[in-house]
C-alpha cells in the first residue's frame, strides 16, 4: 500500500471497525483513533513531500501511482500529490479531527453520525489525491452525498429543506461538471487512440480553442457551486445554519475547498485559452459574491448565517485570486483556502459551543458572555479577529497576497475589482466586530450566569485549529514556499 492510498484506506477501515463497535464510548474512541492516525499520516506526508523535493524531484506530482481500472474506457485509479494537495490533505485531516472532538457528545445515532462523517472525509481525501478525472469525480460525489444524511438527521431548524436543497444543488452542479469532464475526455485523443481521463495526459495536448471555450464554464460552474460562487451560493447559508456543528465545520472548512481546488487544477490548468476567454465574466460573478456575501452577513441575526455568508464572501476572494492569474494572487488564493478552512471551522466550532450553552444563536439574545465563559469568549474573539484578517493570523497573509497579485493588473477593470475586493475587509470588520462586541463584550445577562465552562474535548478541538491559524499567520513563507513551487508549473501554462 502506497503512502497516498492509505489516506482512503484508513478511513474505510475505520468505518468497518465502527460498524462492529458497540456503545457510544467505543464509537467515538474508534473514530478518534482512526483520525489521529490519519492526521499523523498527513503530517508524515508533508515531511515525506519536503524530503522528496529536497532530494531534487522536480516532477509536478510526486508519490504517483497508476492502476488500470476500467480498461475499455481507459479509466485509471491514478493518484499523486503536489504541495497544494498535501496542504489540503493536512487541512482536511485536522478539521475532521477537530470535528470529532467537537461532536464528542453526539447522542442521537452516534455510530451513524461518525460513519457518515468519515465517509464524507474519505471522499474529500480521495478527491485531493486523484489525478484521474473519473476517480476525482467519483470521490467528489462520494463526499457530497453523506451531507444529506448528516444535515437531515442531526441538523436543526428547517433541516429537511436545507439538506434537500444542498444535495440537489450540489448534485446538479456535479451533473454540469460531468458534462465538462466528458467533453475533456472525448477531446483527449485528437490523433486517435484511446481517450484518457488523466489530467496530466490531457494537459500535454492543446485542446482546440472552441472546445476550451465551450467546456470551461461547465467545469467552472460545476466546481464553483460547491465553493459558493454567486449566484449558485444559495445552498450554503441554509445548509450551514441547519447543519450540526461538526458538519458545518467540515462543510465550510473542507468540502467547499474542493471547488477552488478543482477550478485551479482542472478548469484553468487544462483549458488556458478558455480561462482567458471567460476570466472577466467570472471575475464579475466572484466579486459580486465577495461584496454581496459581506453585506448579507451584516444583516443577519443568526450567528451561523453570519458565518455562512462570511464564507461566501471569503471564498469569493479565493475565486478572485484564482482569476487574477498570476503567481502571487494564486499563492494568496491557496493560502486563503487554507486560512479560511481553519478560521471558519474554528468559528463554527465556537458557535456550536456557545449554542450548546445558551441554546440560542440569535445575536440580540446574547450579551456579555465573556464574563461567564472566559475561555470560550477569548477564543471567540480571536477567531473573529482571525476571520477579519488581523496581522498575525492566517487571514492577513492570504488576503494580502491576493490583493498584491490583483494589483499587478494595471487596467481599470481589474483595479475596480481589486478595490471592491479590498473593501470587503472593511465590511467584514463591521459584522465581526458587531458580533463580538455584542455577544461577548456587551452588558452581562443574568440568565447566563451559570453557564458551564469549556470541556476538555471542546478545548482540544478548538486549540488544534487555533494553532494552525497562528502557524499560517506567523510562518507564511513556509507554507507559501510549498505552494509557490507547486503553482509554478500551472502558472506557466496560462
Amino acid at each position: 500500500m502506497d503512502i497516498l492510498s492509505l489516506f482512503v484506506t484508513v478511513p474505510i477501515l475505520t468505518v468497518i471497525v465502527l460498524m462492529f463497535a458497540k456503545g457510544k464510548k467505543q464509537y467515538r474512541v474508534v473514530a478518534l483513533v482512526g483520525f489521529i492516525i490519519q492526521t499523523l499520516m498527513s503530517f508524515n506526508l508533508i515531511y515525506q513531500y519536503l524530503h522528496v523535493r529536497a532530494l531534487g524531484d522536480k516532477s509536478i506530482m510526486v508519490f504517483t501511482k497508476d492502476l488500470l481500472w476500467f480498461a475499455p474506457m481507459n479509466i485509471h485509479y491514478a493518484i499523486g500529490v503536489d504541495g497544494i494537495s498535501v496542504l489540503m490533505i493536512v487541512l482536511t485531516s485536522v478539521i475532521v479531527l477537530a470535528g470529532i472532538f467537537i461532536s464528542w457528545d453526539v447522542d442521537d445515532l452516534p455510530k451513524e453520525f461518525f460513519i457518515s462523517l468519515i465517509v464524507l472525509a474519505t471522499g474529500v481525501f480521495g478527491f485531493f489525491i486523484s489525478v484521474d478525472l473519473f476517480t476525482l469525480f467519483l470521490f467528489y460525489e462520494l463526499a457530497v452525498i453523506p451531507m444529506y444524511l448528516l444535515i437531515g438527521i442531526w441538523g436543526s431548524g428547517p433541516r429537511e429543506y436545507a439538506s434537500m436543497k444542498l444535495t440537489l444543488m450540489l448534485m446538479g452542479a456535479s451533473a454540469v461538471l460531468l458534462i465538462g469532464i466528458l467533453g475533456l475526455y472525448f477531446h483527449s485523443a485528437p490523433n486517435g487512440g484511446p481517450h484518457t481521463f488523466n489530467i496530466f495526459e490531457i494537459a500535454k495536448l492543446n485542446l482546440p480553442v472552441g472546445v476550451q471555450r465551450l467546456f470551461f464554464p461547465f467545469i467552472f460552474v460545476g466546481f464553483g457551486t460547491i465553493s459558493a460562487l454567486f449566484p449558485f451560493h444559495t445552498w450554503s447559508p441554509d445548509g450551514h445554519s441547519s447543519a450540526p456543528t461538526a458538519v458545518s465545520m467540515l462543510h465550510a472548512g473542507v468540502l467547499m475547498k474542493m471547488g477552488g481546488y478543482g477550478i485551479f487544477r482542472i478548469a484553468m490548468y487544462l483549458m488556458p485559452q478558455g480561462t482567458h476567454f471567460w476570466t472577466n465574466f467570472f471575475l464579475v460573478l466572484a466579486i459580486t459574491g465577495v461584496v454581496y456575501g459581506a453585506f448579507a452577513a451584516i444583516k443577519q441575526t443568526d450567528l451561523k448565517y453570519i458565518n455562512a455568508y462570511s464564507s461566501v464572501s471569503h471564498l469569493g476572494l479565493v475565486l478572485v485570486g484564482l482569476l487574477m492569474i498570476n503567481q502571487i494572487a494564486w499563492k494568496g488564493a491557496m493560502l486563503q483556502t487554507l486560512s479560511h478552512g481553519f478560521t471558519t471551522a474554528l468559528l463554527f466550532a465556537l458557535i456550536g459551543v456557545v449554542y450548546g450553552r445558551t441554546h440560542t444563536r440569535i445575536i440580540s439574545k446574547m450579551s456579555g458572555l465573556l464574563v461567564f465563559i472566559p475561555v470560550i469568549g477569548i477564543l471567540f474573539v480571536l477567531a473573529g479577529l482571525a476571520n477579519l484578517g488581523l496581522p498575525g493570523f492566517s487571514g492577513f497573509v492570504s488576503e494580502m497576497n491576493i490583493f498584491v497579485g490583483a494589483f499587478q493588473h494595471a487596467d481599470t477593470f481589474h483595479r475596480i475589482i481589486t478595490i471592491l475586493a479590498a473593501s470587503s475587509i472593511v465590511i467584514t470588520a463591521v459584522y465581526i466586530l458587531r458580533v463580538v462586541g455584542k455577544i461577548m463584550m456587551g452588558p452581562t445577562m443574568k440568565e447566563y450566569a451559570n453557564l458551564p465552562g469549556i470541556t476538555w474535548y471542546e478545548k482540544t478541538g478548538t486549540y488544534i485549529l487555533m494553532i494552525f491559524i497562528v502557524l499560517i499567520g506567523t510562518l507564511p513563507f513556509w507554507f507559501g514556499n510549498i505552494l509557490s513551487d507547486s503553482i509554478r508549473p500551472f502558472i506557466e501554462r496560462l
Binding site: A71, P72, E141, G152, T167, L168, A175, F186
Partner: protein
C-alpha cells in the same frame, strides 16, 4: 443436427425440464405440504443458474432462427441471477399471504414459462421466434398478475396488462409484416443491410418499435405501468419491472444496432425523442407518487429512458453500457422492490409516509433500501454510479452532449424523489413506525445478496471489462 448443437439451447432445455419436474412434483406432493415445492423449485433453479455459468460456444440452430453468442450467454446469466432473487423474495408471499396453498406450484411453472419466453426472445434470429418469445413471456405474467384472486386490484392489473399486451402485440406484428414486405425475409441475417430508407420501411420500424416500447414501458406507451405494478402482487411487479423489461431492451438493441443499421439515421431521431420524453415524463410523474409501488413504477419508466439514451450510440460502447446498466438496474430494482415487498408482507403498508422512522426500527432493511435507491439514482460507490456514467459516456462519445445534459438534469430530478424515500426512512421519526420484524430466511438471503452485488459489481471492474469484450457484436 448433432448433440453438441442442441446443447446450444442448454438454458431453454434445462428450464423446460425444470418446469416439467415442478409440474410432476406438484402432482405428487399432498395439498397440505405444498410449501416443499418452493424448496424444490428454488433448488432446481439454483442448479440451472449454476449450469448457466458453464462456458458455451457461439452458434445458431434451425437455420439461424435460434442463435446464441457470448453476449447472450452472459445476459442470460444475469437474468437467471435476477430471477433467482425474485424467487427467493416471493417465497414468503406464496407461503403466508396466498390463501390457497395449492397454487404454490403453479406460480413457479408460470414464472418459469415466462422466463423461457424471454430466453427465446433474447436468442431469436427470426421475427416469428421473437414474436413467440414475446407472447410466451407476457401471457403467463398476466396470469400471475391476477394471482391474488381475492384482490380486485390484482384482477384489474391483469386485465390491463393483458389488454395492453394484446394491443402491443398487434402493433408489433403489423410492424413485422411491413418489414417483411420491404425486405422479403423474416430472418434477421437476411434483412441485415437490406432495409431501404423508404417511408414504408420507416413505418415498419415505427410500428415494430412501438410494440416493443409497450413492453419496456417507454413514454407514450407507459400508461399501463403504474396501475399494473400497483395492483399486481409485488414479486410479479418486480419481475415485470426488471426481467421482462430487460429482455425487451436487449432484443430492441440488437435489432436496432445490427438488423436495422441501414435505418440508423432515422431511428436515431426516434430513440432521441422517446428518450427525452421518457425521462422527463417518468420523472415528473414519479415526483408526486405516494404509493411505493407506483413510485417504483414511474421510476422504472424514467430508468428506461436512461437505458434508451445509450442506444443513440450504435457501437460497442453502447451495447456494453446498456447491458451493464441493465444488470445493475435489475439488481437495484430487485433490492428496492424486495424491501417494499418485505414491509408490505408483514405490515400491509405500502405508502411512502408509512416508512417514516423505518431506520430506527429496521436498520438493515433501510440500509438495503438506501443502497438500492442510491444505485438507481447513480450515487457512488454503489453500482448505479458506474452504470449511469458509462451510459453518459456512450452517448457523449457520439457527440450527443445535449442529450447527456438533458439526462443529467433528469438525474438531478430523480435524485429528489429517491431522497424523498430516504427522508422518510432516515430523517423522520414517527409515532407509529413500522415495528421491528423479522423476514423469513429466503427474503434475508435475497436482500443480502442484492446488497453485496450492488456494492461490488460497480467497483469490480472485470465485470464491465467482460461485458465490453463480448459486446463486439456491432460492426458499423
Amino acid at each position: 443436427m448433432n448433440w453438441n448443437q442442441i446443447l446450444l439451447m442448454r438454458n431453454e432445455i434445462v428450464l423446460t425440464l425444470i418446469i416439467l419436474l415442478v409440474l410432476v412434483s406438484d402432482l405428487i406432493v399432498k395439498d397440505n405440504r405444498k410449501k416443499i415445492i418452493s424448496n424444490i423449485a428454488i433448488g432446481l433453479f439454483v442448479i440451472h443458474m449454476l449450469i448457466g455459468f458453464i462456458p458455451m460456444p457461439e452458434g445458431s440452430l434451425f437455420g439461424g432462427m435460434y442463435r446464441t453468442n457470448h453476449l447472450i450467454f452472459g445476459f442470460k446469466i444475469i437474468l437467471n441471477v435476477g430471477v433467482l432473487l425474485i424467487l427467493l423474495q416471493s417465497a414468503s408471499w406464496l407461503h403466508d399471504k396466498l390463501q390457497d396453498t395449492t397454487k404454490i406450484g403453479e406460480f413457479y411453472i408460470i414464472l418459469f414459462s415466462s422466463l423461457l419466453g424471454i430466453y427465446f426472445m433474447v436468442s431469436s434470429g427470426h421475427f416469428l421466434i421473437l414474436y413467440m418469445g414475446l407472447e410466451l413471456s407476457v401471457l403467463p405474467i398476466s396470469a400471475l398478475a391476477a394471482y391474488e384472486v381475492y384482490n380486485r386490484k390484482s384482477s384489474e392489473a391483469a386485465i390491463k396488462l393483458i389488454l395492453s399486451a394484446a394491443i402491443s402485440s398487434g402493433v408489433f406484428l403489423f410492424g413485422i409484416s411491413i418489414l417483411y414486405a420491404v425486405s422479403g425475409s423474416l430472418y434477421f441475417d437476411d434483412i441485415l443491410g437490406k432495409l431501404p430508407i423508404s417511408y414504408f420501411s420507416v413505418m415498419g420500424l415505427v410500428f415494430f418499435f412501438s410494440g416493443l416500447a409497450f413492453k419496456i414501458s417507454l413514454v407514450p406507451f407507459h400508461l399501463w405501468t403504474a396501475d399494473v405494478y400497483e395492483g399486481a402482487p409485488t414479486p410479479v411487479s418486480n419481475y415485470l419491472s426488471v426481467i421482462s423489461k430487460a429482455g425487451a431492451v436487449f432484443i430492441l438493441m440488437v435489432l436496432l444496432f445490427i438488423t436495422m443499421n441501414t435505418l440508423h439515421d432515422i431511428w436515431i431521431y426516434l430513440v432521441y425523442g422517446i428518450t427525452v420524453l421518457t425521462m422527463f415524463i417518468g420523472n415528473f410523474f414519479a415526483l408526486r407518487q405516494e404509493n411505493m409501488k407506483r413510485f417504483l413504477a414511474f421510476s422504472s419508466v424514467a430508468q428506461a429512458g436512461f437505458i434508451l439514451m445509450a442506444m443513440v450510440s450504435a457501437n460497442q460502447a453502447g451495447v456494453s453500457s446498456v447491458v451493464y446498466f441493465m444488470a445493475i438496474y435489475i439488481f437495484s430494482n430487485i433490492g428496492a422492490f424486495g424491501v417494499v415487498e418485505a414491509i408490505s408482507m408483514k405490515t400491509g403498508k405500502e405508502n411512502m409516509k408509512d416508512y417514516a422512522g423505518l431506520y430506527r426500527t429496521n436498520p438493515k432493511l433501510s440500509l438495503v433500501l438506501m443502497l438500492s435507491l442510491f444505485s438507481l439514482a447513480g450515487i457512488p460507490p454503489v453500482a448505479g454510479f458506474f452504470g449511469k456514467f458509462f451510459l453518459y459516456t456512450a452517448a457523449a462519445g457520439q457527440g450527443f452532449y445535449v442529450l447527456v445534459f438533458i439526462a443529467v438534469v433528469n438525474v438531478t430530478i430523480s435524485l429528489y424523489y429517491y431522497l424523498k424515500v430516504i427522508r422518510e426512512a432516515f430523517l423522520r421519526t414517527s409515532d407509529t413506525p413500522i415495528a421491528y420484524f423479522k423476514s423469513d430466511n429466503y427474503m434475508k438471503v435475497s436482500l443480502a445478496i442484492v446488497a453485496v452485488i450492488l456494492l461490488v459489481i460497480g467497483l469490480y471492474s472485470p465485470f464491465y471489462d467482460y461485458i465490453y469484450s463480448v459486446s463486439n457484436i456491432v460492426n458499423f
